[in-house]
Symmetry: C2
Subunit: 212 residues, 2 copies
């Protein structure tokens, strides 16, 4: 779809840069160097400069980067001008937490509907988001092409299959299950228990003395 070549590692950092540029802008800061930004986002300044350079020469030597210019550039690059609508499947504790989270604050992304099998929840709103019955998934989804999956893990694959049949483009999977999808569909896994276990493992086996 566009300027290929941006390494995936760089692409993953873009939202982070974007958020901090927003912060700087709100603070009324006019310029920022890779060094300053580095301290804020905890990414090596050389890496920041390299990341930015994939998009061209965005800064000025001896000066740094103009905050508004850079912010505007990333707003376009990250498609922040168009709203991305997302559906959330599974309004358990974790799902409910997301429904109360205002993604719009920094990202032009909004959860516009939620699904659950619990008829007590169906019909109500959680965090101003309407909750529909999971049986009505296909009927209600409309143009939504991204789903956040926060269902019990033993239901993850069945729901995924329905999302796939419906024509979903991307799934953010918070269940511990590693779901199977056709190769044309993008899935990002966030495995909370594994993250915790991994942190504990690193603590025990990779003692730190410097750097992170």
């Amino acid at each position: 779809m566009d300027q290929d070549k941006i390494p995936q590692a760089t692409a993953k950092r873009l939202p982070l840069y974007y958020r901090f540029l927003n912060n700087l802008s709100h603070q009324g800061k006019k310029r920022v160097s890779s060094k300053e930004l580095s301290e804020a986002v905890k990414v090596d300044p050389a890496t920041i400069r390299r990341d930015f350079s994939y998009f061209g020469a965005l800064g000025k030597k001896g000066y740094g980067y103009n905050v508004e210019y850079l912010l505007g550039f990333f707003r376009k690059t990250l498609d922040q001008d168009e709203l991305t609508e997302v559906a959330l499947i599974g309004t358990g504790n974790l799902g409910t937490a997301f429904l109360h989270y205002n993604f719009l604050k920094n990202n032009n992304t909004k959860i516009v509907m939620a699904f659950d099998a619990d008829s007590d929840k169906v019909g109500s709103d959680i965090g101003s988001v309407p909750v529909y019955h999971i049986d009505d998934l296909e009927e209600k989804m409309g143009w939504v092409s991204v789903a956040i999956l926060t269902v019990p893990s033993d239901e993850a694959q069945a729901i995924t299959n329905r999302l796939v049949d419906f024509g979903i483009s991307g799934i953010l999977n918070f269940t511990p299950a590693r779901i199977t999808v056709p190769s044309s569909i993008r899935v990002h896994h966030i495995d909370l228990a594994a993250e915790l276990q991994s942190l504990v493992y690193f603590l025990k086996h990779y003692p730190l003395h410097s750097g992170s």
Copy 2:
């Protein structure tokens, strides 16, 4: 304290392998090949074999891996025999979700206490975990050396400073703030909004045709 040399990328996958080996074991499966495991965890079989090989020759040629043996090996490697106690700071929606999550199921990790500033919550239990007042942090922490941070982002650094002064070892930071700590303390950031934005970015800019 450890067999150095295990690449960080490998270390991050260990909890994943461990969980799926557990599943296989519960299913009564006796053996598993890197190919089968690959389909379950969505990691290339060569990568799995390479990962395992850092720990020695754990499998048998022409056979695969003995599930119980491998599971036992990883249980030891991941220190699953000793319970790791964790504190959670901030019982908002996300924090509450974690308090209801049973990390013990697959990981020998347990949230043993929670802290909040809201006096309505203090003194109660959430998901069987006692909630203390944030002012009593230092007094209550005891031997706990890992914290999950789910406070509002503008409080993240102040709480972090207190955790650092207390002598914390590791922090799992769910706030969008990139906290600053001495280099001897390990912090893992999980940035939920950034993950969602990143998924959307990949969808628009990295159309998939095969592989994930």
